[in-house]
C-alpha cells in the first residue's frame, strides 16, 4: 500500500468519524437543552402538522430568506439545490450497483455543478461588494467559500477538462466502506478534490455549517403556537422561584 493510499484512507476514516460523532454530539446537545418558554415567531402554525409544513417551506424553499433578500436567496438556493443534486449524483461512487434513480439524475447532477459554482460566486461577491456583509465577514467566512469553490471547481475540471479514472476512485471508496483498502489513484486534481471534501467533513461540526442541523432546533420556527391551550413546562423552569 502506498503512503498516499494510506494517508487518504486514514484521512477519510478520521473525517467520517469527526463528522458523524461531531454532529451526533451537537444534535444531542441541542435536543437536550431546554426551551423554558414558548418563543415562536408569529404568525405561526397552531398544530404540529402546520409546523412540519412551515419547516418544509423553510428548508426546501428558503422562504424567510426569500422575503428578506432576493439576491441572497437566488445565490443561496442555487448553491444548496445544486449541491443536493451533485451529492445525489455522487452516490454512484459509493454504491456498488447504483439505484436506477441515481443513474437517471446523472445528467442533471453534472450540470448542477455549474449551478453550485454560480451560487457560491454570487454569495462571495455579496460578501465583498455589499458594505454591510463585508463588515460582518470573518476570514473563516471567506475560507469556507474558498473551500467550497475549490471542491466545485476541481470536480468540474475532472468532469469537463482533465478527466479522472472514476473506476479506480469508486474502487477506493468501496474499499473504505468494506474495510478492504484499494489504491488511491494518483491524480493531483482528484487528490485536491477529495482532500478538500475531507476537510469540509472535519470542520462541519465545528463551524457555522451547523446551521444545517441548527435550523431544526430553532425554537422561533419549530414551536407550535399554542401557549394558551397547552401549558409548556421544562424542568429547570419549573423549579425557578
Amino acid at each position: 500500500m502506498s503512503m498516499l493510499t494510506l494517508g487518504y484512507s486514514v484521512l477519510f476514516y478520521f473525517a467520517a468519524f469527526v463528522l458523524f460523532a461531531g454532529l451526533a454530539y451537537r444534535i444531542y446537545t441541542y435536543a437536550n437543552t431546554p426551551s423554558p418558554l414558548k418563543i415562536v415567531v408569529t404568525p405561526a402554525p397552531t398544530t404540529k402538522a402546520g409546523v412540519v409544513y412551515r419547516m418544509w417551506r423553510e428548508v426546501v424553499l428558503f422562504e424567510s430568506l426569500f422575503r428578506s433578500s432576493k439576491w441572497t436567496w437566488v445565490f443561496g438556493w442555487a448553491f444548496h439545490f445544486g449541491m443536493l443534486l451533485v451529492l445525489l449524483r455522487h452516490l454512484r461512487y459509493v454504491l456498488e450497483t447504483p439505484w436506477t434513480w441515481v443513474d437517471m439524475i446523472q445528467p442533471f447532477g453534472i450540470y448542477a455543478g455549474f449551478l453550485m459554482l454560480l451560487g457560491l460566486l454570487g454569495l462571495w461577491a455579496r460578501r465583498i461588494l455589499v458594505d454591510r456583509v463585508r463588515y460582518i465577514s470573518s476570514p473563516s467566512d471567506h475560507l469556507m467559500l474558498a473551500m467550497l469553490v475549490g471542491i466545485t471547481v476541481t470536480g468540474l475540471l475532472m468532469k469537463f477538462v482533465s478527466g479522472t479514472d472514476v473506476i479506480a476512485v469508486k474502487n477506493f471508496m468501496l474499499g473504505l466502506i468494506y474495510f478492504d483498502i484499494q489504491p488511491m489513484p494518483e491524480d493531483l486534481i482528484l487528490l485536491t478534490h477529495l482532500g478538500l471534501v475531507a476537510l469540509l467533513m472535519i470542520v462541519f461540526p465545528y463551524s457555522k455549517l451547523l446551521h444545517a442541523p441548527g435550523v431544526f432546533f430553532s425554537p422561533t420556527r419549530v414551536q407550535v403556537d399554542d401557549p394558551r391551550e397547552t401549558r409548556h413546562v421544562t424542568p429547570w423552569a419549573k423549579d425557578a422561584n
Binding site: T33, P43, S68, S138, D141
Partner: protein, 496 residues
C-alpha cells in the same frame, strides 16, 4: 430641537451606508444600589467580572436552547443587516442584528468553541475585555427586542433572545440598566411601573367615573378590587392617567358597561407590564407574573383580560401559562389570558355593541402593528388574527381607515423605537432615530391619504410616538388608543 441630526425622510426608503461608531456614545444610565440589591444583583462591577460573565454565558447556553442554537447557527448571510430600525435610523453597523449578536457570539466562540480557542482571529473570536463589556452595555441597549430580524432570518435567529441573555449577564456582573431595574423595583414595592399606590389609584378611578358621567351622562364604572367580579382587567399603568392611554381605559369601561360584563381592576396587579422580560430574567419575570395569578385567585374572577400593551401581551400570551399557570380555576370557555381587542371584537361580532363610526368622521386613521403583538402573539383562533382583529375593531369604529406600506405592517412592522426597556429620556437620540422607519411609512400615508390619527395598542408605542412625532413634523396628539376610537364611537344608553 436636539444636538444630533434627526434622520431625513427620503422619497423612498434607503438603506444607509454603514458609519462605524455612529452610536458608540449611546448608553442608558447605569443602575445603582437601591435598585440592584432588591433584585439580587451586585450594585457595581464585581472584581472578577470576566470570570463571572463567562461562566454566566456558559450557564445560559445550557438553560436556553434558543441561545445555544442561535450562537452556533448564524452563517453571516447578511439577510438581517437592513432589517433593524435602529440600523436604518443610525447607520451604525453594530446595530445590524448579526453584528449585535456577534458582540456576544465572538466571546462565546472564544471560550466555548474549539475553533475560537485555537484560531480566534480566523473565526472572529475575541477575549472578553472591558471594551467588549462596554460595547455590550451600549449596543444591547440599542435593541428593542422587537424580533423583526428573526422574521427575516433563514434560521429564525432572534436577536431579542441574545440581547436578553446579554442583559442578564450584565446584571449578574453588576452593570444593570437603571430604567428597567428601578421600574421592576416599583412593581414589587408599590404594584405598578408608575409607583401609583392602591389608594391613589382608587381615587383616580373615581375621578375618571365622574369625568365620564359628566361627559356622557351615563354612570360607567371603573371598579377596583371588586371581589366576585367576572373579569379581571390587567392593563399598563399608563392607562390610568397618561394621554392618550387613558382614552383607551375609558373605552374598555364603556365596552364592559354596554355588554353588561361585571369587571374589575386590581390594586395588587395594577400593572400589565413585565420588564422582567426586557432584562432577560426568568425569575423576575415569573415574580411579576405571579401577582396576576394571586390577584385573580384573591378576587375570585372567572376570566383575565389584558389591556392595550405590546410586550405585556407577549408575556401574557406566550409566558403566563408557563410562569403562573395552570389557570384551571378560570372559566374554560374563554382563552386565558384574553386580549381586550379579542373581547371587543367578539362583542361586535355578536352585535352586543352599538358603534357609530361617524362619531370619528374627523379622523383619518392608520394602525401601527406593535412589534410584540405582531410577532410574538396571536388574537383569535387563526394565525395572523393579531393583524385582523384590531383592524376590524378600528373599522367598526371609524369610516376612514388606511394601511401603511405592506412592507412596514403585519409581521414586517417596524418597532416604534422605544420598546425593550429603552423608553427612557437618557436614550432620546436613539429613540428619535429608531422611530425613523415607522415615521417614513406614516409620512407617506399622511401625504397620500391625509391620515391624521395613528392608532396603536401598546403603552410604550403611545408614549414613544407622543415624544417622537414632533421630530418628524407630526403633531404629538396624532397617536391614540384603539379603544379611544371605540370609546368615541360607542353609543351609550342604546343597548344596555
Amino acid at each position: 430641537m436636539a444636538d444630533y441630526e434627526v434622520p431625513e425622510l427620503k422619497d423612498i426608503p434607503v438603506i444607509p451606508a454603514i458609519k462605524e461608531g455612529a452610536m458608540a456614545h449611546s448608553s442608558p444610565f447605569v443602575s445603582r444600589a437601591p435598585f440592584q440589591e432588591p433584585m439580587g444583583y451586585p450594585d457595581e462591577l464585581v472584581d472578577n467580572w470576566q470570570e463571572v460573565a463567562i461562566e454566566k454565558l456558559g450557564d445560559l447556553t445550557k438553560k436556553y436552547r434558543s441561545l445555544k442554537v442561535f450562537l452556533d447557527s448564524c452563517v453571516k448571510c447578511g439577510a438581517c443587516t437592513d432589517k433593524c430600525h435602529y440600523f436604518l435610523g443610525t447607520a451604525d453597523p453594530k446595530n445590524m442584528p448579526v453584528a449585535r449578536q456577534d458582540l456576544l457570539r465572538k466571546v462565546y466562540r472564544r471560550y466555548y468553541t474549539l475553533a475560537g480557542k485555537f484560531f480566534p482571529k480566523l473565526v472572529g473570536a475575541t477575549d472578553l475585555t472591558k471594551e467588549v463589556l462596554d460595547d455590550w452595555y451600549s449596543y444591547y441597549h440599542q435593541c428593542s427586542q422587537c424580533r423583526r430580524c428573526s422574521v427575516f432570518c433563514p434560521y429564525g435567529i432572534d436577536t431579542a433572545e441574545i440581547s436578553m441573555a446579554a442583559r442578564e449577564i450584565l446584571d449578574t456582573v453588576g452593570v444593570g440598566q437603571k430604567y428597567c431595574n428601578e421600574i421592576i423595583g416599583k412593581v414589587y414595592e408599590i404594584g405598578n411601573n408608575l409607583g401609583l399606590p392602591g389608594k391613589a389609584l382608587g381615587q383616580t378611578l373615581e375621578d375618571l367615573e365622574e369625568d365620564v358621567e359628566d361627559e356622557t351622562g351615563v354612570a360607567v364604572k371603573y371598579p377596583l378590587d371588586v371581589k366576585g367580579a367576572d373579569v379581571l382587567v390587567v392593563t399598563p399603568s399608563a392607562d390610568f392617567f397618561a394621554e392618550p392611554h387613558i382614552d383607551g381605559l375609558i373605552g374598555y369601561g364603556k365596552v364592559f358597561h354596554q355588554a353588561g360584563i361585571n369587571w374589575t381592576l386590581s390594586s395588587h396587579a395594577s400593572e400589565a407590564a413585565n420588564f422582567g422580560m426586557f432584562i432577560g430574567s426568568y425569575d423576575n419575570m415569573k415574580r411579576v407574573a405571579m401577582r396576576v395569578r394571586e390577584a385573580a385567585l384573591d378576587l375570585g374572577v372567572k376570566r383575565i383580560v389584558v389591556g392595550e400593551c405590546g410586550h405585556a401581551w407577549r408575556v401574557a400570551y406566550q409566558f403566563w401559562n408557563t410562569l403562573a399557570g395552570p389557570f384551571d380555576f378560570l372559566d374554560p370557555n374563554y382563552p386565558v389570558p384574553q386580549h381586550i381587542i379579542e373581547v371587543t371584537h367578539d362583542l361586535i361580532q355578536r352585535g352586543a355593541l352599538n358603534l357609530d363610526p361617524s362619531a370619528n368622521d374627523d379622523k383619518r386613521v392608520t394602525f401601527h402593528d406593535s412589534c410584540n403583538v405582531a410577532r410574538a402573539t396571536r388574537m383569535g383562533n387563526t394565525p395572523g388574527g393579531q393583524f385582523i382583529l384590531p383592524r376590524e375593531v378600528i373599522k367598526a369604529s371609524v369610516n376612514h381607515y388606511f394601511d401603511m406600506a405592506p412592507e412596514t405592517i403585519h409581521d414586517s412592522t417596524f418597532c416604534c423605537g422605544g420598546g425593550g426597556g429603552l423608553l427612557t429620556d437618557d436614550l432620546m437620540e436613539l429613540r428619535v432615530k429608531g422611530a425613523m422607519p415607522r415615521m417614513q411609512a406614516l409620512t407617506d400615508v399622511v401625504k397620500e391619504y391625509d391620515v391624521n390619527y395613528l392608532a396603536a395598542i401598546c403603552a410604550i408605542c403611545k408614549s414613544q410616538f407622543t415624544k417622537t412625532l414632533p421630530y418628524y413634523d407630526h403633531p404629538m396628539d396624532m397617536i391614540g388608543s384603539v379603544h379611544g376610537l371605540v370609546s368615541e364611537a360607542i353609543q351609550l344608553g342604546t343597548k344596555e
